[in-house]
């Protein structure tokens, strides 16, 4: 006896569009659909691969330093890399990306710079996402007084000139030898990350709140409530997974901004400390000398540009994949 099989997309033959098909919804999870859309965007896939490579480079940087080139990012090679005037030498077999004007290996520094940028990207943005999702979830779900209070709070933060206050914080606490609050607030990568997180979370929260307001009216939430799930369960198991998608898109699009923001702070000299390689700081150092040392500007600049570009393309691809209307 033949078991009745539900018609699949393939049974209609190849060559037909995969979207807008009721049958495909039934047989594929939303995640699979999105992935199929995404896969078609070649640029996005290439970018994803590139980012994976960057992450790998960042993680393996210490290993590369130790085992491949045998020196770290702050090790000086004044006699080998600088000529008699102190002008650095370009790429050669020993220093693949050339040297910077302090006599350091640019290749290793660019790899370590990836760590700085990616830490900012993931850690700082991650914090803002966690805070933003929590606040938005609670705010949108409970509504009423809770929502009003949280929304006003979010509004206030959004209206504050956070970047300027951060600058002021750096000014005040940077002057002191040990920072403020017993060393908690001190110029460095952590402070930059906190500032970025502080700046971004209200936008995430607003986004999530809007989504939650929309979702909580849907039937599956009613159903869960009817079955007896408590609020926490509903928030976490029903609503949260559906919020992930737009949050993910927003995150990937905001990461390039954050990377550039850290680069700008380091350029001004108030970001990461001098011993921490940062693409932004390297570009800053290259600014006066790139006419005779093109490699100092090209390599960090290229990596910074490509990384931010990759995040943008992935974000674009995700957004297009999630949006049923952008039919390819």
């Amino acid at each position: 006896m033949q078991v009745a099989t539900r018609p699949t997309i393939d049974s209609f033959g190849p060559g037909l569009p995969e979207v807008d098909s009721v049958a495909s919804v039934a047989t594929r999870t939303p995640r699979q659909i999105i992935w199929r859309h995404f896969r078609k965007d070649q640029l996005a896939i290439a970018s994803l691969v590139f980012l994976a490579l960057m992450i790998a480079a960042a993680i393996t940087a210490p290993l590369v330093a130790r085992y491949l080139v045998h020196h770290g990012p702050n090790q000086l090679f004044i006699n080998q890399t600088l000529d008699q005037y102190g002008v650095p030498k370009g790429p050669n077999h020993q220093f693949w990306f050339g040297a910077d004007d302090a006599g350091r290996d640019l290749f290793v520094r660019v790899l370590y710079g990836a760590r700085t940028s990616l830490i900012v990207a993931f850690f700082a943005t991650g914090i803002s996402v966690v805070i933003g999702v929590s606040v938005g979830l609670v705010s949108g779900f409970y509504r009423g007084r809770v929502d009003t209070v949280l929304s006003r709070f979010t509004d206030i933060i959004m209206s504050l000139p956070v970047l300027l206050l951060a600058l002021g914080l750096v000014a005040g606490c940077g002057l002191a030898a040990n920072g403020c609050l017993g060393g908690l607030i001190r110029p460095g990568l952590l402070l930059v990350s906190y500032v970025i997180a502080l700046f971004n979370w209200p936008y995430v929260s607003r986004l999530v709140r809007g989504e939650v307001l929309r979702l909580r009216k849907k039937e599956f939430v009613e159903a869960a409530a009817a079955v007896g799930s408590n609020n926490a369960r509903i928030m976490l198991r029903e609503i949260l997974p559906n919020v992930v998608a737009p949050v993910l898109v927003f995150t990937t699009l905001i990461i390039p901004n954050n990377i550039l923001f850290e680069a700008a702070l380091s350029f001004l000299g108030i970001g990461v400390p001098a011993t921490t390689p940062s693409w932004g700081k390297m570009l800053s150092d290259a600014g006066s000398i790139f006419t005779v040392a093109w490699w100092m500007m090209v390599f960090p600049g290229l990596f910074l540009f490509l990384t931010t570009l990759a995040f943008n393309l992935v974000g674009d691809g995700l957004r297009d994949a999630l949006d049923p209307r952008t039919i390819r």
Partner: protein
């Protein structure tokens, strides 16, 4: 003396200076006096603003000194404003008619003042009188002024009483008639005339509304006198003639040509009479100074002619460009000076309170590397001791911390460190908690951060880890000079002798009188326990004091004098070790191709603006 560049006059009694041969090439343009045309606007770009708003009593920085010397503040005695090999260090009369006469006991100096020297508008009806110099020295003495180098004038009878608040006037100064100034010292000092070449002694005219006011036109301008200077030189601030000195100080508005942090414009002083001023030529009509911009941008503008010169030393790539391009090479000027660049260690801050640590640092620093980072030998030879070879030639081959190629030796450094109390296990590495995370204040202007990175790496190899704080040049100096800031180590400092006498090199650096609030004993030599406690230091045992040795050299003359200072230098290098000197300074200046008659002003250590001219007067 002046930070970075400053040279002072030499006492006529001292002979060694004039014969000082620099070990690095001195580049001079063939200066043809004929064919130099008047006219044009000389444009200067400053990467860093002036140190103390051009206040003559406080400004202690090469660049500021040049503006004062060349253009605004004539003094009793001066120089010919040319380079060290052009007699630039020989004392000359400026506002005085001749060099002073001194009594047989060496205590009374008499100066005759030129007549008919009119001040710039709006006080053009006043002429320079003896009383005007008394006013200047009174201002220097008052503690409210917080002058930078009052210690030079302590030798004047009654000077310190004013500083201590015990007297209102300086008893050792008198003006028997308007054109005679008599100075009585409390002890003989052969170098004394040189101190009257410094800008702090420039005359201050009487206040038009209150002729008896002790500080004259400077009354009330405790912090901002710079822009209210009444010029005696060939130039004045644009708009200075509109200042109303009859009003109270806080109601006077400054000249439009003085925009702090932005720009300074000097225009011709109509009262200046070249017949009374044998050395200043003042070819250009106007001097425009703009603040801001990166050194690379300023260098580009000098090449394109948008600027005529800048304050900063050229970058390594700038040096290479000018050095290797035949059309630019004549505009790269390099002159030896009486200056040293050094790493300063605070003797009251751990771990540098330990002599063995300081010796270890002297062993480990890669001086050759530092020279390369700054642009190579044209910026000056490697320093092996504190006082420049140009001042004490007998120490030419004295190198107590000699290492192969002067690149530093970790082994020798460790051997010294082993004897330190901060190396608890005596393995040559500093391991006590005081060795970690030591604060190092550096100049953020290139190439100082790169040099700091090298020093940081060198220190790490003997176990000392540092964390750096970057500041703009003049702010860095202020931080390192102020004892209460408690900065352990400052590697970006440079020092030029205030005048061409070793006395002027060492006094401002190593005597107790140069401690905070004075300047510039950054190593805190000669600090008492009470002082350290008052500055809230953790280490309160008194630091070494060499005031006695310094005083012993003052009355000596000739080779005895140089030998005396040479032995002070040796003592400093071997037993006190407050510094790691690493480069004897050459002053390297780049000018645009239309600049003529370049001379180094040996008395300040920068370009001589009173002699500079522009091609074709444009």
């Amino acid at each position: 003396m002046v930070r970075l560049v400053k040279l002072g006059a030499l006492a006529a009694a001292l002979t060694f200076v004039a014969t000082a041969c620099s070990s690095s090439a001195v580049r001079q343009q063939p200066s043809s006096q004929a064919g130099l045309q008047r006219g044009g606007v000389f444009k200067i770009g400053l990467a860093s603003d002036v140190h103390q708003a051009l206040d003559p009593a406080k400004e202690y920085y090469t660049i500021g000194w040049e503006f004062l010397h060349c253009c605004l503040t004539r003094t009793l005695l001066g120089f010919n404003l040319k380079g060290p090999n052009e007699d630039g260090n020989t004392l000359q009369p400026d506002l005085a008619t001749a060099l002073p006469t001194v009594s047989s006991d060496g205590l009374t100096w008499t100066f005759k003042i030129r007549s008919g020297i009119h001040y710039a508008p709006p006080l053009q009806d006043q002429t320079v009188q003896a009383q005007d110099f008394i006013r200047a020295l009174l201002r220097e003495a008052e503690s409210a002024t917080a002058a930078s180098y009052p210690f030079y004038y302590s030798v004047i009878k009654g000077f310190d009483d004013v500083t201590a608040g015990k007297a209102k006037t300086i008893s050792g100064l008198s003006a028997p008639d308007p054109s005679t100034l008599v100075v009585t010292l409390s002890s003989p000092a052969g170098y004394f005339p040189y101190t009257l070449t410094l800008p702090a002694t420039a005359p201050i005219p009487a206040s038009p509304s209150d002729p008896s006011a002790p500080l004259g036109a400077a009354t009330g301008h405790i912090l901002n006198y710079g822009q209210f200077i009444v010029s005696t030189g060939p130039y004045m601030f644009k708009g200075a003639d509109t200042i109303d000195y009859t009003k109270p100080a806080d109601q006077q508005s400054g000249p439009s040509g003085f925009q702090a942090g932005k720009s300074y414009v000097l225009v011709r002083n109509p009262s200046w009479d070249p017949a009374t001023d044998p050395y200043r030529k003042a070819y250009v009509n106007e001097i425009d100074v703009t603040v801001g911009g990166t050194v690379a941008d300023l260098t580009n503008k000098i090449q394109s002619g948008d600027l005529n010169t800048m304050d900063a030393l050229p970058t390594p790539e700038g040096v290479r460009l000018f050095e290797t391009t035949p059309s630019l090479k004549p505009y790269l000027h390099s002159d030896a000076t009486f200056g040293t660049y050094y790493i300063n260690m605070n003797l009251a801050m751990a771990p540098f309170d330990d002599l063995n640590v300081r010796k270890a640092v002297n062993w480990v620093v890669d001086k050759a590397g530092l020279q390369r980072l700054v642009g190579g030998p044209i910026l000056g030879p490697i320093a092996t001791h504190n006082i420049p070879n140009t001042m004490v030639p007998s120490l030419n081959s004295y190198d107590p911390y000699a290492t192969p190629s002067e690149s530093g030796s970790v082994d020798k450094a460790k051997a010294a460190m082993m004897q330190s109390k901060y190396d608890t296990n005596h393995d040559g590495l500093c391991d006590a908690p005081e060795c970690k995370n030591v604060l190092m204040v550096i100049d953020q202007t290139d190439p100082n951060p790169k040099m700091a990175a090298l020093i940081q790496s060198d220190l790490a190899s003997i176990g000392i880890t540092v964390r750096t704080q970057q500041f703009q040049t003049t702010t860095m100096y202020t931080k390192c000079e102020t004892a209460t800031e408690q900065v352990p180590i400052c590697p970006s400092e440079g020092w030029y002798a205030d005048f061409a006498d070793p006395y002027a090199f060492v006094t401002g650096l190593f005597s107790a009188a140069s401690l905070t609030p004075s300047c510039c004993d950054d190593s805190e030599l000669g600090a008492t326990s009470a002082q350290l406690a008052g500055w809230k230091y953790k280490i309160t045992s008194a630091t070494p004091n060499i005031d006695g040795d310094l005083a012993a050299c003052i009355p000596l003359q000739g080779t005895q004098r140089t030998d005396c200072y040479a032995s002070i230098d040796k003592n400093l290098m071997e037993n006190i070790v407050p510094w790691v000197p690493y480069r004897f300074a050459n002053e390297v200046v780049i000018t645009s191709p239309n600049v003529r008659n370049y001379h180094l002003d040996a008395s300040t250590g920068w370009i001589s603006l009173a002699l500079i001219a522009l091609n074709g007067g444009k």
